[in-house]
């Protein structure tokens, strides 16, 4: 598949901004609204799919498999490390909630929805979003290459 026309490519590049903002919005409001890390990450990964459709062969210069794979592993590691950090009490203990400073005190009852009072939950949503966006982009990329019967470096 060759790259598509200049109009499509330009629009795809422009769509990065709203796509990213929407994805990050879903991730950051994961503990307040429906959605969360997985859904927001999937939204971000659609940008990769859009780029593959628009740029075709040239995607090799834009998305790097190696970097995506590294980001994915790092995000997973960050997630489990966050869980481990609470182990002085119990595993997965929310040690940032009620800790004052920027994390404030946790709220209950009717409230406008504070982003910062969730403790480690928004942070976990963030790393899950990172992991899912990298992993789904990688999957789409590998599928694109194998649909062209190109053997990806790792899979022999």
């Amino acid at each position: 598949m060759d790259q598509m026309s200049k109009i499509v490519r330009t629009i795809a590049s422009l769509l990065i901004v709203p796509g990213m903002i929407f994805g990050l919005y879903v991730i950051m409001h994961g503990h307040l609204t429906p959605g969360g890390g997985f859904q927001g990450g999937a939204v971000i990964a659609t940008i990769s799919a859009l780029f593959i459709v628009a740029y075709g062969e040239r995607i090799k210069g834009i998305l790097n498999q190696d970097v995506l794979s590294l980001v994915e592993s790092m995000a997973l590691l960050a997630f489990i490390s966050l869980a481990f950090l609470g182990i002085s009490v119990t595993f997965f203990h929310n040690f940032l909630a009620n800790s004052g400073k920027i994390f404030g005190a946790s709220v209950s009852g009717v409230n406008p929805g504070y982003l910062n009072t969730g403790g480690i939950i928004p942070l976990m949503n963030l790393v899950v979003g990172l992991e899912v966006s990298a992993a789904l982009s990688l999957i789409v990329l590998v599928m694109y290459f194998s649909s062209r019967n190109e053997v990806v470096k790792d899979v022999t």
Binding site: A83, V89, T90, F91
Partner: protein
């Protein structure tokens, strides 16, 4: 904070952490990655031993994720968080799973050396261990489903490791489809139970279960799904393909995961205890059918790993036969029922050791000759150690006296004889046939004129782990009472007294 308080969660979290660390460390240096993996596995083994010792001495240990203190299971009178619950029974299973994975990982260091994408292989290995330990230790139904999925996905990827061969991909796909069906059945059953009781904790559901029609449907679905994962007779078809096509060390882990599924099955059986007599009979009959089908299909196989897989179906049959006929005496198995259940549980341990040794020998033969079928011949001339190991594995798997298989099979035979003599007789005949099969394999591979091609040397670490397995087979065979009294009897008591399991949560 003490180590033992956090041991249940660390058993699940350390393999997960190591699995996520492996691809990053593997980018730096492959030697460092191997070191990291082995260190993680040794610490898991240490924790499993520590936890088993503590649980057998001090009783059930619970762990609540995210709570203020680990033991706080029901803050508002009913359990809300994810709870891990360890008694002597699942400590025993977690000990088996972690030891076998350590042995397999050491074996893989040299066996897999020439393969590529090893970072991913070891990541999947550790994820498989996470799935097994999670299934074993969890006390929460939804958690059970999640770990079942982790187990299925990582096993399917490992079965497809030799991806250049079409058969490996085909059997991995088959496994994937079948285990997804099983996982959906589990999810549906959990939905049925959750809809009725608003609870996800296994002990809490067991406490309030009514035995209504929907409960029976849910129980049937759960039992079918875990029998499917264990590979008993009506649903054994994925097993020869998966075990035959996977790399030999992976087959050992698949076998262990089948035994972990059996543990979950027995646990669900005993804590819910709806109509145990009927279900016990069904299990016993399925066990007999598995024995019969396993040995008769193994007789005609030509591929060594497939042959061992079929004898694995027969061995699963012995475990189900033992525990099933013990459950007929439920809820108070004292006489033959107790012997039958402890024989079945003892056979779980012996089964992993025997078949694990045979699978590792099959892997070593593949490493030497590159062949998977029986047309080798004369290997005993150049590899006498391997031949001796095979003889030990053969004797153990067919229940000959000085080896461990004899001890557990004798317990199963003599207790099943009280239930129905016919069942015991078919079981003994199955064992005799098993011996005939493996004698045939031994003569086909090891006897005859010397193998003509130049062979390479088997690395010392591979021989060492096979030696450890062979030594433990002989040790357990010579001193079965030692193992029975220290581990198996507490495990059996924990399994047949579900009251303690339920009361530890509520």
């Amino acid at each position: 904070m003490t180590l033992i308080e956090h041991a249940p969660i660390l058993l699940i979290a350390i393999p997960l952490l190591a699995a996520f660390l492996t691809p990053i460390v593997g980018r730096v240096n492959s030697l460092l990655r191997n070191f990291e993996m082995i260190i993680a596995l040794i610490s898991i083994e240490f924790l499993a031993i520590l936890l088993s010792y503590d649980v057998i001495r001090n009783g059930i240990r619970t762990y609540t994720l995210g709570a203020e203190i680990p033991g706080l299971t029901s803050p508002a009178g009913f359990p809300v968080r994810i709870i891990l619950e360890v008694d002597a029974m699942n400590a025993f299973i977690s000990l088996i799973a972690s030891s076998i994975t350590l042995i397999v990982a050491i074996y893989c260091l040299n066996f897999m050396k020439e393969q590529r994408i090893l970072d991913k292989f070891y990541t999947l290995l550790l994820l498989l261990l996470t799935g097994m330990l999670g299934l074993t230790l969890t006390g929460d139904f939804f958690n059970l489903f999640v770990f079942l999925e982790i187990l299925s996905v990582s096993s399917a990827a490992l079965i497809a490791f030799y991806v250049q061969r079409g058969e490996a991909l085909e059997s991995a796909f088959k496994y994937m489809v079948i285990s997804s069906v099983g996982a959906l059945m589990v999810l549906f059953a959990i939905g049925l139970l959750y809809g009725q009781y608003d609870l996800l904790n296994m002990a809490a559901i067991a406490d309030s279960i009514q035995g209504s029609f929907l409960d029976k449907v849910a129980l049937t679905l759960l039992i079918s799904a875990f029998l499917l994962k264990a590979g008993s007779v009506p649903v054994h078809m994925w097993k020869p393909d998966a075990y035959g096509e996977a790399p030999a060390p992976v087959s050992v882990l698949l076998l262990t995961s089948a035994l972990v599924s059996l543990y979950v099955l027995f646990r669900i059986f005993t804590i819910f205890a709806i109509n145990p007599v009927l279900l016990g009979w069904i299990l016993a009959i399925l066990g007999i059918l598995s024995i019969f089908l396993g040995v008769s299909m193994a007789l005609i196989q030509n591929n060594l790993q497939r042959l061992i897989a079929y004898s694995g179906i027969a061995e699963i049959g012995y475990i189900i036969l033992g525990v099933g006929s013990g459950l007929v005496e439920f809820p108070s198995p004292t006489g033959f029922g107790f012997t039958a259940i402890s024989g079945g549980l003892f056979h779980i341990l012996n089964d992993t050791l025997d078949l694990g040794l045979l699978f590792l020998i099959a892997g070593a033969i593949f490493y030497l000759t590159g062949k998977r079928d029986l047309s080798i011949g004369g290997l005993a001339h150049s590899q006498p150690t391997l031949a001796v190991f095979f003889l030990i594995g053969m004797g153990a798997v067919s229940g000959l006296p000085p080896f461990n298989g004899f001890a557990s099979k004798l317990m199963i035979y003599e207790s099943v004889y009280y239930l129905n003599p016919l069942l015991a007789i078919i079981g003994i005949l199955g064992s005799i046939l098993m011996l005939a099969i493996f004698v045939k394999v031994f003569s086909a591979i090891f006897l005859g004129i010397p193998y003509d091609k130049e062979l390479r040397k088997i690395p010392g670490s591979m021989l060492a782990v096979m030696g450890i397995l062979a030594l433990s087979i002989i040790f357990i065979g010579l001193f079965p009472n030692l193992v029975l009294e220290s581990i198996i009897t507490p495990a059996t008591k924990a399994l047949i007294n579900p009251k303690n399991y339920i009361e530890a949560i509520l």
